[in-house]
């Protein structure tokens, strides 16, 4: 599965969220999208999944061109998304079991009992979590359920929108490890959005730096870590990630 985005533009009510963005992701790759708020990184994910209106350019997943907001059944199985806010990504009135059953029911996948238990095992949640409601789960546990829900249809591509930024540091480490493990086991393609350079360089091999709806630079994570970046903005982000120091403050 490859993702090819060419000159993509997205506008909301006249506001240009994405301005002629081009990205290419290869099969099995882990690709990062970094930027600050308003950079359009989340909008890019939403455009791929059909949640944001495209006003120009093309998106192709595995050679198949995507038009408008409609996506085929096959696409809906092959591409899944994990959202940022664990407190908003699960239906508050449905048990974990029901929420894991839903994607199986929609796609007509049988053998649901086994698959649900397997999904819970895979994300490290015991079977005792199966019939709990979201309000009985911690943030980390909810995010695991969200990941289980995404994985239960056996997708090939996972779009991750800041999956750990709402979690505590220790929980973040656990979830990142889980994501890595899952990716390795199923040979998934990741597109991960984050504002945290540490997380992105840890999880991704290549990344695109975005600012104000445009791609500033695309580079390998190793190059970013080694300080071999081209753009000043990327350098600025690097420096800011290191924490506060009197010399670092501009002005």
């Amino acid at each position: 599965m490859t993702i090819r985005i060419e000159n993509l533009s997205v506008s909301f009510d006249g506001f240009r969220a994405l301005n002629s963005v081009s990205i290419a992701v290869d099969k099995g790759e882990s690709f990062g999208l970094v930027g600050e708020s308003g950079s359009g990184k989340s909008t890019l994910l939403r455009a791929v999944s059909g949640l944001a209106p495209v006003s120009g350019g093309t998106i192709a997943v595995n050679g198949e061109a995507l038009t408008g907001s409609r996506r085929s059944r096959a696409f809906r199985r092959a591409v899944q998304m994990v959202f940022q806010d664990p407190y908003a990504s699960l239906h508050p009135r449905q048990t974990v079991d029901r929420q894991l059953l839903e994607p199986l029911a929609i796609h007509g996948i049988g053998d649901t009992e086994r698959r649900i238990l397997q999904a819970l095992d895979e994300v490290g949640l015991g079977h005792s979590f199966r019939f709990r409601y979201p309000h009985q789960l911690s943030g980390g546990q909810r995010q695991r359920v969200a990941i289980a829900r995404a994985l239960i249809v056996e997708p090939a591509i996972l779009l991750l929108d800041e999956p750990t930024s709402a979690l505590d540091a220790s929980v973040q480490a656990e979830v990142l490890n889980l994501l890595e493990e899952v990716r390795g086991r199923h040979n998934l393609t990741f597109v991960m959005v984050s504002h945290d350079l540490g997380v992105v360089t840890h999880m991704c091999s290549r990344l695109a730096v975005m600012k104000a709806g445009e791609v500033v630079e695309t580079l390998a994570a190793a190059d970013l870590a080694g300080g071999r970046m081209v753009s000043d903005y990327t350098r600025q982000l690097m420096v800011a990630s290191k924490g506060f120091s009197r010399e670092a403050v501009p002005g």
Binding site: V171, A173, G198, T201, H202, L224, L237, S241, V249
Partner: protein, 277 residues
Amino acid sequence: MKPLLTVRNLSVTYPTRTGIVEAVRGISFELGRERLGIVGESGSGKSQTGRAIMGLTPPPGIVRADTLSFSGIDLTQAGPAAWRDMRGSRMAMILQDPKFSLNPVMTIGRQITETLRRHENVTKREARRRALEMLEAVQITDPERVFGLYPFEVSGGMGQRAMIAMMLVCGPELLIADEPTSALDVTVQLEVLGILDRLVRDNGMGLIFISHDLRLVSSFCDRVLVMYAGRIVEELATADLSSAKHPYTQGLLDCTPRIGESRHPLPVLERQKEWAA
């Protein structure tokens, strides 16, 4: 040197339907004219500590302490009027998200002058002048224009700077900042921290910086308190952070992915029951 703030055996409890929740369980520390960071994850009690010191614990929370004194004043005995006099003029608090902590139906300038006129006897013109001065001090380039803007019309970083201006306009001695930069972009974070750094230094204030980000706190503060499950598990100077003794602190330091390091999988915090004892 007499400490600015003395806290001995502070506890904050909430009676709930299912039992008593102890948010803060008997912590003690002192603060001089320095920068103290309080670090912890969610549920550690760090925010509750900040609010207890400001007298802002929401009901039905109960605050108890053997000693809670600020600049010689016994805070446990302070009545509502005394608190109102102190807050804003002698002790101030900055919160996380200016979207939620600034009054959305009042202009920024008005909110700053309101604080000023509540505590000091100044004319409207004088108040306006000082508010504009303060907006300049927080590096807002066009203070006249921002004075008349509403909070929803400015960006997050600017809103946070406006909040700082509002809180510091009366020149308080103690500033508590509860996750002041968590809702901001990294580059903006640096700017805001730089402003805080300068103002704290220039005015000789005591600062309590509450955050979940241990690395950020250690780069900004002189001393750090690490909280877990309502208790302080470690207290050390930030220079000594790498030689932290408590496993929780070490775990927190280790588990964040850092640029340039390749640790797969990331070390995970194994919580021990004894830490919450």
